[in-house]
């Protein structure tokens, strides 16, 4: 069972004590989301999270400099486009990232990254089987075309 304080502590550690810069921060943030099935709502002046549709928990004292937050968002954009080419622009969009060994579990990403607005929303979800089948079929075609 994930307690609110466990989730808060894990997130606070990832955001305030990164070991590999923004690249490591984003990797570790996604790992925490996967482990706790988190929904994250992160803006420059607010970061809140909830696990499995529970109550939102505000994380105090985790505000990052704007330049760092923008670099985090830029890294998220690259990861989205690595999974699905051209899924998002550097300025924002919606994408998906894998959520672990189970291919049906994904982290849905919505973000905005421009000089006047920055935000990141992550939601861990399990996709219906039918949709996954279509995605795998499409991925197979891309791989064959690429060869």
């Amino acid at each position: 069972v994930n307690t609110t304080s466990q989730v808060s502590d894990a997130l606070r550690h990832v955001l305030t004590q990164p070991t590999r810069g923004v690249v490591g921060l984003v990797d570790d943030l996604l790992t925490v989301c996967r482990h706790h099935r988190l929904q994250l709502d992160w803006q420059p002046d607010r970061c809140r999270a909830r696990s499995d549709g529970g109550e939102w928990t505000e994380l105090a004292d985790v505000a990052l400099p704007k330049s760092v937050f923008r670099a985090v968002l830029a890294r998220v954009a690259v990861l989205c486009n690595e999974r699905t080419p051209n899924a998002v622009s550097p300025y924002g969009g919606r994408g998906e990232l894998p959520a672990g060994a189970n291919p049906r579990e994904v982290i849905k990403v919505t973000f905005v990254n421009n000089p006047t607005e920055q935000k990141l929303e992550l939601t861990t979800e399990t996709e219906p089987t039918a949709r996954m089948s279509r995605q795998h079929e499409q991925a197979g075609r891309v791989a064959i075309d690429g060869d």
């Binding site: 810069g21 400099p65 330049s67 760092v68 923008r70 670099a71 830029a74 051209n86 550097p90």
Partner: protein, 77 residues
């Protein structure tokens, strides 16, 4: 964060009427870069210098007219 070419193409795709993608290479003095580098979050080893209002952008803006610049067109992949 990907290559400069990939980043340029991604930005140009949002502004399709602005002539296509290009890289603006600017020779920024080390003392201005140092204002933007955050060794904990954005170390230089990761190849990204993120200027912003709280990280060297005002100083970069002030020095901008005198900085050497080169426009490098970016073609299709």
């Amino acid at each position: 964060l990907g290559t400069p070419e990939e980043y340029a193409r991604g930005k140009a795709a949002v502004f399709t009427s602005e002539g296509g993608s290009a890289i603006l290479a600017v020779d920024v003095p080390d003392d201005i870069i140092a204002l933007a580098v955050n060794e904990v979050y954005c170390p230089l080893s990761q190849g990204v210098v993120q200027f912003d209002e709280d990280a060297g952008l005002p100083e970069l803006r002030a020095a901008w007219p005198a900085l050497p610049k080169q426009i490098i067109p970016v073609g299709s992949p």
